[in-house]
Every structure is written in structure tokens, then in C-alpha cells.
Subunit: 188 residues, 2 copies
Amino acid sequence: MSHPLRTHIEAVSKLTDEEFDHILSHFTPVKLKKHSSLVREGDLVKHEYFVLKGCLRSYITDNTGKEFTYQFAVETWWISEREAFMKHTPASTAIECLEDCQLLALSYEDREKLGRELWKYEHYLAVKSNMGYVALQKRLQLMIMGSAKERFENFVHQYPHLYNRIPKTHIASYLGVSRETISRLYRK
Amino acid sequence: MSHPLRTHIEAVSKLTDEEFDHILSHFTPVKLKKHSSLVREGDLVKHEYFVLKGCLRSYITDNTGKEFTYQFAVETWWISEREAFMKHTPASTAIECLEDCQLLALSYEDREKLGRELWKYEHYLAVKSNMGYVALQKRLQLMIMGSAKERFENFVHQYPHLYNRIPKTHIASYLGVSRETISRLYRK
DNA sequence: GGGGTGAAAGGACATTTGTCACTTAAAAAT
DNA sequence: ATTTTTAAGTGACAAATGTCCTTTCACCCC
């Protein structure tokens, strides 16, 4: 059974054992308890993370205390605060663990280094970034064109495993509806 | 007075006269009349476009005939159908001219070629792509957290020059509200 | 320069979704 | 096990926004 990170990269381009070992040697394991924070608003974000085990979300809180969930991450997903990580500015979104988590951390410097050393890694990043952009476009489109019901059904269909794993409150804040609305839809 | 495309690239990195002339030599001028289509749904998209003069929008139409505007473009902006252009798949969004337009077209092959030949161009693309991602995130966030009023006011504040140039119908479809709602907000 | 065409404004009403207050259920802590 | 805390379900009502329809305005175009 191959390493989950290897599987993930090889969905884009195949690696030799040496290449993968070299890549993996730049990652640092991180363990976190449920409810702990990986990133707090205002932090500098020096790493991005690959999830080995557990579940996290990134979110922001507005001045009235309402939350908006940008992203969830479970096994084999990446998570970070992209803008802060890239530009070395303070984080405007927070990241918290929804379960006990095991992560692999990669620093900004090592990411750059890997990209320079290994074209396949650079390419993997470019493909990943592009897929992220397209996915975000789709989400925006659904947000604008779809009703609460359509958004909810799409979520359940797209992420059946998340739907029973993540508190409804957070799913609601990801979909941009109230928790009560989710309840009402769920009933039917 | 420098060429608008040069100014745009040089906001990221400075070019020599030779470099810019080399870049520019890969672009083809395109002229289009108001109301004409640059891309139709289902087309293959072989070029991306830099706007010299005029105004365009990209949009999709759902099965009930309702439209959603992805993007506007005026002087010095780029426009294309990113997914179709990148993946060589049929376009799922259309692009139309809201005014008479003068554009510069760059083919996929030439784009790749320029990126390979001139690192500064590759870098310019990467920066542009990253800014696009962050902007899209901000738009999604505002869409989810903001009221119709907030979204509208943000638009007017962010693009004061577009607000009097583009039909309200299209601004409404960009903001994900009905035209009537825009009218009501504008009244006050 | 009058007739036609498309965009915007406005009112009445319907629908969706949010808010609040309360109850129930489940999970965590001691 | 019992208590305490947290999440979810529910109903009544309010607010925001959409829909439909009519009127007005502005701009083109023979």
C-alpha cells in the first residue's frame, strides 16, 4: 500500500521511489487534538498541510460574529491559508480541527525548493492550483444560480462522506444558509 | 505613452524594448461590433484576449433561461474561457461584446511558447492567476456573507467606471440579484 | 424627426430564507 | 451513572428578495 501523499501526486505524474522519498523528507508530521487551532486570524502562515487523518475547516468570522466556512479538508486533501501563505501576510482566515488530526507540514521555502528541483512537483502544484480555481468558479456559480436546496443537495451528492461527519452548523456556513434551513431541507 | 499591454505586464516585471516587441509580435488584433459573440457555448477556445478598447462579458445561461455573468472586461483586462482554453474542451460559458471592441488575441500555443522563452512572462501569468484566485475567493465570501445591498455597494465602490457603462441587467446577473432589486437599492 | 426597440423604474404580491424561542437528542465530562 | 454541554429539530413570524406587470424614458434607425 502506497503512501497517501504519493498516490495524490501520482494522480498527476508518476514518481520514482527516490523522487518520492526526496519529496517526503521535506515534510514534518504534526498532531493536533480536536478543537485546536492550526491557524489563528493574524498569524503568519509558514506552512501548508496535507491531511493524513482527521478533519479540519478554514473559516472567517465577520463583525457580527457570523461565520463563513471557506473550505473543509479530510484525508488526502490539502489545507492552508493561501493568500497569507503566498504573500507572507497575516492570516485573515482561521483553521481549526474538527477531529483529532495527523498532518504533514511543508514550509514555503521547501515548497519553492521542491518546485525548483523537481519539475514534476512544480507541475503537480500548477495542476492542483488550476483545479482549485475551476472548482471555486463552480461553487460561485452554484451559489448565485442555485437555491438553498440545490446547493445542499449538490453538497450531499458531491461529498456524501462529509455530510455525516461534519456538524450541520458548519455545512450551513459553507453553503451560505442558516442551520435551520438545512434542517428543513433535510426533513424531506 | 507606452503600450497598454506593456504597462500591464510591467506592473509585475519590467521588460526591455526587445522583450516587449517579441511578446507583442505573437498577438493578433481583433475587431468586433457591439452585440457580437467572441465565444459561443460549445466552441473550442483557442485564444485568450487582452482588451484594448470596448467592453465584454462572459456568462452562462441555465435551463430556465436565467443568466449568470462570470466576468466583465474593459480596457487593459484579459478575458477568455479559462477552463475551455486550458483543457481544450468545448466552452460552457459564452463571451459577448457590450460595445464595439478592439482586442489582442494570443493563441494557446503562443502563450506556452512565450512562457517557455521568457521567464518574466511565465511569472506574469503566475501572478495574474494567483490574483484571480484570491479575487474569486473574495467575491464568493461577499456573495455568502453580504446582503444584496452590500454586494451592490461594493461593486459600485470597486468599479465606479463600470457602473455607468454596463446595463444594470448584467450587473444584476453578476451580483446574483434581480434587476428590480438593483433598482430598489439605487433609488435610495 | 416620428416609430420602434430595449432598458430602467415602480408597485403589488408571492416565495424563500432568516431569526428567535423552545424542545429534544446526543455527546462529553466528572 | 449522572450531570453538563453541545448540536440538532421544530414552529411561528419577520425580513429580504424574486416575480410579474405596467409605465416611462432614451436611443437608434430608416
